[in-house]
Amino acid sequence: MTAVPGTQQPLTDLEDFRREVRAFLAANLSPALAERVKAGFYLDKPELDRWQRALHARGWAGTNWPPEHGGPGWTPMQKYVFEDECAQAGAPILIMMGLNQVAALLMAAGTEDQKRRHLPRILDGSDLWCQGLSEPNSGSDLASLKCPAWREGDEYVVDGSKIWTTAAHWANWCFLLVRTSSDGPKQEGITILLLDMKTPGITIRPIIGLDGMHSLNQLFLDKVRIPVSCRVGEEGRGWPLMKYFLGHERISAAGIWKCKAHFARLTKIARETRRDGRPLIENPRFRDRMAWLEIRMRALEVILLSIIGDSAKAKGAEGALLKLRGTELQQEMLAMMSEACGPYAVPFHPEVLRSGWTGEHVGPEFAATATPFYLFWRKSTISGGSSEIMRNVIAQNLYP
């Protein structure tokens, strides 16, 4: 009556594509760098830039970009294969703010001038973008943001603070949400500005994470002047454009590819680590937990593949589900890597994590990063839409 669905032809094409990606990775990614990425060591900006240049040279920097802007024009399944292979291989994880969200926004709502000015430099890595969204008193409830800005001639003057800004200390541009009016509902009066990080009046306060490292920042904007030409969309109409930021990237944030790479690493560690006279992977309790993780990861990958290319679902309950559970799985895998360290989870020397450090570490090699990595990624269920927000989104879909 019916047969197994006939997806043979496209699958074969995709396997060809997968081989192409693998060949690229083999040629461009040094095994030493890949090892450091898999182990969770920090990369410095030149290392990230080098990787983006390599991708750009191949035409693969803007994976989501349409060909007219220099993207590869991949199908959703090709993107899936690409991300999967990159994660498995240990390719550096770029800071995607510019490449994904800012680019999507500009393509949809930027002026021709803004597109011309920013898109090429985002694609080739000349510009690194950070985001000024959250504020000390506006987190999950982002629309309640207060950072005031007012018009003076051809400029906006911004006077406030933004927080949880990843890579602000590296970025040369910042995507900024400000409040230009306090009348009406909180969603109105929000304006989007593009801020050159060389503008006078910006102070960056590093925020040290639980892993002892610096990746987050608070921005203080002291009467910072931004030309009106750097506004995206109309004044006070920024919120509707935020859909390019919120929800859009839940599938990357879910990190199913990352899960798979972590799981492979956890398996390796569990095979190589002896505890109580046997490899950890032979410990029934550890083995059971790994089996459940593998099963749960499989479920998410099936769901991901079932909605791939369906942007309504990706922004809806399914996308929220993937973000919710994908980040939980990652966290549990990292927790198990830390457990595998035994007493060597206790030593903590963040200098080891830094790029270029060459000293001798304490205990097994993976112990140097396992616990800081675990601690750092507690954030994965908090940032990019917290687990609580994801549950809200799902419930909203169940009770429309």
Binding site: T2, P5, R298, V302, L305, A317, Y399
Partner: protein
């Protein structure tokens, strides 16, 4: 199975099957009607069974050469999903999946001709007696013995929790014809008339509103033509039946969780406490969201397992074991949550949600519970790595 083979797409025919099943069951198999069928105590409703036959469902997975529809395990899964949501109690699993599919696979032409047309037409029912009082979930732990005698065999032993036994015309009985109690070799399958001399049944209802029985075989004589498949070689047949049985149970489990979520959402929308619908309480909303997540995860794993089994993927057995373990663990938890999220009404027999829990529990206790399935998952994973 770690890449593109995880993409499961349904064919247009499969979507039609889903729609037809959902439409029929929604119309003809409401919860009140279902409860009346259970109360009647007759192993499903004869009228419904005729409908199933008419819709081609009784022959769905059977080979076209035997008069069936040649559907895949994935088709079977989709039908079972609809059965699960409706909590249909008809003995489809025992007659079609375990019984007829085994006859189709193992039987000779005469046996197939004798049995299958009747099954497809809804006249003949089968039961699959491969569990024994001491076997637990180990179907190859067979103590029932069949000794050759004249031109046939004589069977003696006990079979336990045989689904649909009392209403079956023929019982498929595993018996040891050689080898030690737990040896893989030396198990044979026999077609035994339910009314044959020496066959005694102790029938009872099951927690999930079906019928089953303890079956006692006391020197039951069968002819040579009762031997189904190769002498001593039934182990693989039994395992195949078990795998297809699991595919069916996984489909039902997904249907149960869909039903449990749907009735919870409905109840929360309509039930008011403290002046507001329950659906406006955030703590409950978040738990209903988790219920949705569990349902989706379960659906993904079970669908994948059915697809892999249908496609003969090398990882199919492990996928089935993983999904079965998941259903017993996360599925049980989800069904318990659905009960909890209803409050008092859920613990009555009059309301639907508790019956989803019952069915999920029964599904866990058939063909290996969570622990058994997880052991198998791990063992198969290790074998694949080696």
């Amino acid at each position: 199975m770690t890449g593109l083979d995880l993409r499961v797409e349904l064919s247009p025919e499969q979507r039609m099957l889903q729609d037809a099943a959902a439409r029929y069951l929604e119309k003809a198999y409401g919860f009140q009607e279902r409860q009346a069928i259970v109360a009647a105590g007759s192993d499903g409703d004869a009228g419904k069974w005729r409908d199933f036959a008419q819709m081609g469902w009784l022959g769905l997975p059977l080979p076209e050469s035997d008069g069936g529809n040649g559907g895949s395990a994935l088709d079977l899964f989709l039908l079972a999903q609809a059965f699960g949501k409706a909590l249909a109690v008809e003995p489809y699993l025992s007659t079609v999946v375990l019984g007829a599919m085994t006859v189709a696979a193992a039987g000779n032409a005469a046996q197939r001709a004798r049995i299958l047309p009747g099954v497809i037409a809804g006249r003949t029912r089968l039961a699959f007696g491969c569990t024994e009082p001491e076997s637990g979930y180990a179907l190859l732990d067979v103590q029932t013995r069949a000794r050759a005698s004249g031109d046939g065999f004589v069977l003696t032993g006990d079979k336990s929790v045989v689904l649909g036994a009392a209403s079956a015309d023929h019982l498929l009985i595993s018996a040891r014809t050689a080898g030690a109690r737990d040896s893989r070799l030396g198990i044979s399958l026999f077609l035994v008339d339910r009314t044959a001399p020496g066959v005694t049944l102790r029938p009872y209802g099951t927690i999930d509103g079906r019928r089953a029985a303890e079956v006692k075989l006391q020197e039951v004589r069968v002819g040579r033509d009762a031997l189904l498949g190769e002498l001593h070689g039934a182990a693989a047949r039994i395992e195949h039946a078990q795998a297809l049985g699991i595919v069916t149970l996984l489909g039902e489990a997904v249907g149960c969780l869909e039903g449990a979520l749907a009735c919870t959402v409905e109840y929360h929308r309509n039930r008011h406490q403290f002046g507001k619908p329950l659906s406006s309480f955030q703590a409950l909303r978040h738990r209903v969201a988790d219920l949705y997540v569990a349902k989706e995860e379960t659906r993904a794993l079970c669908l994948l397992a059915a697809h892999a089994h249908a496609a003969g993927e090398p990882g199919a057995a492990q996928a089935l074991a993983g999904a079965k373990a998941w259903v017993g663990q996360a599925g049980r938890h989800a069904a318990e949550e659905a009960v909890q999220l209803h409050g008092a009404i859920a613990i009555t027999d009059e309301y639907v949600v508790g019956h989803y829990l019952k069915r999920i529990i029964a599904i866990d206790r058939l063909f290996g519970d969570t622990g058994t399935a997880l052991d198998r998952y791990i063992e198969l994973g290790r074998a694949a790595d080696a």
